[in-house]
Symmetry: C2
Subunit: 672 residues, 2 copies
């Protein structure tokens, strides 16, 4: 297994530094209300005007809950969304991964302080959720469709697992286990317990990770139970909704009715038992959090029902419902999946969190299947949608990640008003920024995996990794300037006498690669290509230098013609990086651009923090001066198309919206 990895890649180090130096301290100030931030309206359809626009309440809520627990008469006000606690947990999880990467005593002190506050808020029976503790204690575990109680618990547990692994301290883990025990006491097949799960999946994955750390079988069983109870009673959530309405309880999402057309059983993945769910329906983040747990649950339990459910979801999402950028979720209504091949580029949701979840899903599938295509998905989502979720300076975040944007249309067309063309500093529903932070800070966990006596290289990241492979200590230095260059050198700095087996993912976009071992070209006989991995036939030994060169050239990609939105268009990729055009480089009306026959690139170190740009001698369609009009100057008899030459400049999609506000587009017209 991997023991430690140090990321040295300038590309990733820079992003991790921005997160460690900018985002995490910024988020600390936000969750502690140390600074006023301009909080953007969410895109959930909820009414954020019901929330204070200048206060997050995150940490204060725990203090209020603690005071209430102590019996103080006026403990203070609990504010924010029902799932506000999770912002603290995701911040702590990002801190945990940061502490894995670097010493940061001040940050550590802040985290320990926050963990104390959280612990003080936890009730004696282990229950922990500031909303229900402070506002509606009689409603605990009764409105699971939207309470986010186990969702928040899951984020606490994931953070505690990461924090324990990074620091070795136990305090946070104790809180987590106590909370998990409370859930175990309340949910399960036994009579008197709740026979259902949370409306927002997350606890399942968290319990599996807690089991991996603690080896406590109860957590594994509970996770398996929560996964398999889902959808057994399709009316489970809707019955709770009806009961809440009968009792005159208020909606847990301000501005949205309890019984709402977007919030039916499929929204919660509960219309059928999981292994019978053949299509990704409902809230995209919920779906991929469920899927991540299904895949990991299958690894840890071998349960065929979990495996089948994960397979069905994987097939439907990857084969029919994913954007080229690794974005998922085609509609803002319920932040949800829609249908097969329905992938509009402009009205897409493509939530940052959903692509983070897709990476979890792909990674957990990869752990069981060792299929490189799953690594391709992971890489596609990471380098495109997830990175696009933040400004290059780490100070602004996207919730929605369109493949086609136009500030004017976002302003005038309400069907596009969820598509922002400036990254706001914070959101009332602030799930995405900390999710992105924990993803990028934990990148080291995605670079390699081990499978018995084999090390598999999944991501290409300049780094130094230490493994313990059945008692054998291995140190592997990976040197690369990926994603801008395609050469990856693996230097075995340390290994036992037996050496080890090694495999590298060869991405599907790579048409040609070459391989050298200690300067000697390796022929096809030296390796086997299997399920997207190149397996070396010989073991690697200390001192070996393996050099893989992936041919990295711009590629034109087309979509399945059943995707109407992309029909007749082409996307430009170079390696995993999806490119786009922006108005600032190419002028307005980007739909009029046609790529040229060439596509040349170069690295520009001054642009957008250093990116490889592509250029094409293309053309721009111009509107003819004259022409026979049909009732309106908008419509004319077809005449030969007129073009003017234009050098089209493409930048990596992840870097869009870091200069002046304007149009952006991924799918382009081909050469006319």
């Amino acid at each position: 297994m991997l023991e430690k990895i140090t990321i040295t890649s300038p590309f990733w180090r820079e992003r991790q530094q921005i997160i460690a130096k900018e985002m995490i301290p910024y988020q600390w100030e936000v969750i502690n209300d140390l600074k006023q931030v301009d909080i953007a309206v969410t895109n959930t359809g909820g009414d954020s005007s019901a929330l204070d626009s200048d206060k997050s309440y995150v940490v204060e809520n725990f203090k209020v809950a603690a005071k209430k627990k102590q019996g103080e008469a006026n403990p203070g006000k609990r504010g924010g969304m029902v799932f506000q606690d999770s912002d603290a947990y995701k911040w702590l999880e990002a801190v945990a991964y940061t502490l894995e990467c670097q010493d940061a005593p001040e940050l550590r002190a802040k985290a320990d302080q926050l963990i104390e506050i959280i612990g003080a808020a936890q009730e004696d029976d282990g229950y922990l959720n500031t909303y229900f503790q402070v506002i509606e204690p009689d409603r605990k575990y009764q409105s699971l469709y939207m309470s986010h109680e186990l969702y928040c618990a899951g984020h606490l547990i994931e953070a505690a697992v990461a924090y324990t692994m990074a620091t070795g301290t136990k305090k946070f883990l104790e809180i987590a286990c106590k909370l998990a025990d409370n859930i175990d006491a309340n949910f399960g097949p036994e009579e008197g317990k709740i026979h259902g799960a949370d409306g927002h999946e997350e606890i399942e994955l968290a319990l599996l990770r807690l089991y991996e750390l603690t080896k406590e079988e109860r957590y594994l069983k509970l996770a398996e139970y929560l996964l398999l109870i889902r959808g057994q009673d399709p009316d489970f959530f809707t019955a709770q909704q009806r009961r809440d309405v009968e009792l005159g309880r208020k909606s847990l999402i301000p501005g949205l009715e309890i019984i709402h057309p977007d919030f039916k059983a499929p929204y919660f993945q509960s219309d059928k038992p999981v292994e019978e769910q053949m299509e990704a329906k409902g809230h995209a983040v919920r779906v991929v959090y469920l899927c991540s747990a299904l895949a990991l649950g299958a690894v840890l339990t071998g349960n065929e029902r979990l495996k089948r459910a994960a397979d069905n979801y994987w097939r439907n999402i990857i084969q029919k419902r994913m954007y080229i950028t690794g974005a998922i979720g085609s509609t803002p209504h319920g932040e949800a999946f829609t249908g097969d091949y329905d992938l509009p580029n402009d009205s897409v949701y493509g939530e940052t969190c959903a692509s983070v979840g897709l990476i979890f899903f792909a990674h957990n599938m990869l752990r069981e299947r060792h299929d490189g295509a799953m690594g391709d998905v992971m890489e596609q989502a990471l380098y495109n949608t997830v990175l696009a979720g933040m400004n290059l300076d780490g100070k602004g975040f996207f919730y929605v990640n369109p493949l086609e944007a136009n500030p004017y249309l976002s302003k005038v067309n309400p069907g596009l008003r969820h598509v922002l063309t400036r990254r706001p500093g914070w959101f009332a529903c602030a799930c995405c920024p900390p999710n992105l932070a924990r993803m990028v800070m934990s990148l080291g966990h995605y670079v390699y995996q081990t499978k018995q006596d084999t090390i598999l290289s999944d991501l290409f990241v300049d780094s130094c990794a230490k493994f313990n492979l059945a008692g054998q200590h291995i140190t592997l230095k990976q040197s690369t300037n990926y994603p801008w260059e395609g050469t990856i050198a693996y230097e075995v700095q340390e290994a036992g006498a037996a050496g080890f087996k090694f495999a590298v993912r060869v991405p599907q976009w790579c048409e040609h690669f070459s391989l050298k071992l200690n300067q000697h070209e390796l022929g096809a006989g030296a390796y086997e290509l299997k399920h997207g991995y190149l397996y070396l036939k010989e073991h690697l030994h200390q001192g070996d230098l393996l050099e893989l060169t992936l041919e990295l050239k711009p590629m034109l990609v087309e979509a399945d013609p059943r995707i109407s939105a992309d029909y007749g268009k082409q996307a430009v990729l170079r390696g995993p990086i999806v490119y786009c055009v922006e108005e600032v480089d190419n002028g307005a009306n980007l739909q009029c651009l046609h790529l040229g026959a060439d596509l040349e690139g170069h690295y520009e170190d001054k642009l957008l923090g250093g990116v490889y740009v592509l250029e094409s001698h293309g053309q721009r369609r111009i509107r003819p001066e004259l022409g026979q009009e049909i009732a309106s100057p908008l419509y004319r008899k077809v005449q030969p198309a007129q073009f003017e030459e234009q050098l089209i400049k493409l930048i990596p999609y992840f870097a869009w919206c870091n200069r002046s506000e304007g149009e952006m587009r991924v799918w382009l017209n081909p050469q006319p």
Copy 2:
């Protein structure tokens, strides 16, 4: 002026007969609740589940109001939308135009009976609106942003004007004048009166028409006042909204909050004085009803401010915000206009009523400007969106008229759920069906206009028309099989010795035409082409036979490249008829079709009630079996496109959705 016109065109007679024999009796049963109808949810965003789904209450409401007026303790229940009364008025208006076309004593009796009931409900001071009379008498004229009181009044007045002109009876006109007088007593510049107008324009046009009939100057002044007060106080409607919230009053649209993001000043065209409104904003029907009144007001008053406002609106709508089908309103959110060149084909609203209103606007502009391009717009909206608003059997109606539809996507994508792919029998908000009925039944009023001593032929409709031109009696028989054939023969059956001047609109789509007078070809010297009309230099006299032949051939049309949704695509027109492809003829995945080089047509009398169909030897793009995948089988390295030959069948757009439910598309790919 035109004295009488008899429509003999099989194309139009058939539609008028369906309306007279099917729709009007059907609507009578609906408004009288004589039959249970399956009422579709509206697309306004309102919650029609708050309404009885099987009862319209239209006529009953008047009876209830009359009983309440008589002081009955339990007069009964008033039901339906706040503007439910208008359904009765639009029905009566359609009946009036029907009585112009044919004797129908039974229908006349029903109408007279309904007029009695309406009269019985009218209060002594002239006020008439069943919602406010029965449910909230203390709220009269206080919630004008959404009360529809003057809107309903306008429909009553329009119906009364039409009924009076058709039957010569005065009863209905008396009710109308009494109601207009009530409005005059309550609205106006004088102190103590309301200095504002209705949130939904309609009264303005109605008062102008009432003035035209009665010559009562007060009505003209009141109309002018209501037009010009609009937007003088941009807070007029929003202040009423705030006051209603303060008073704890309920929303007048069930399910929609009083203060709602869709219902701000621009939604009501009240953010600026009308002559400063440079863009069509807000609710599309409101906009065109306003515009129709501005244009007619300009004709009747000569007021330059009205003229300028009408011009600004015309320019913006026609040059930047209209679909090729004459549909307007790009979004279901507020049933509204969005922005310039924003004309999505799939998520469009394109309300039938809005295109009816656009025809009113175009017709009133035409009355003043005599610009054939305005007639072209009128014709485009009439033959495409308006006719598409009903099933060929007259038993189903569209509210929304997409240019691209897919039943699967309408089901799975909530952003498209307003786009129905079957015409429902009725709507909870039933504005469109009776609006369409009155439009088609009044068609005769749009065929000709007179301008001093000239008769202008605007629409090509087989008919016989009688004019009184400064005392001279003229009978003009128009013979044509338009829109399927392009020859139009005008036979002067009666005229005075002086004869008369004559002009014919030559549509912009017509590239070549020929003209014969009494079998002799007329050269270019015999006429003048001016602003879209061909003016004969010589007078026409009794016995003259003028034959105009418009070359009618299929034409490929392209959109302004700034319309992103249509970029690179072509629409097929033949004369004013826009064509479309349907799944039933061409299979699914219509986005994969490419037109061929040819486009041949023939008339099929057995198909869709008799239509001219077009066929093209085109191609269908097929998905290659293999190809280098990028993370998903959805995305592949570009390879040469593969096609299979397919004979593409196109039908007139207005006839879509009359066979099996399936995909439909207007904008098609060109030859590859």
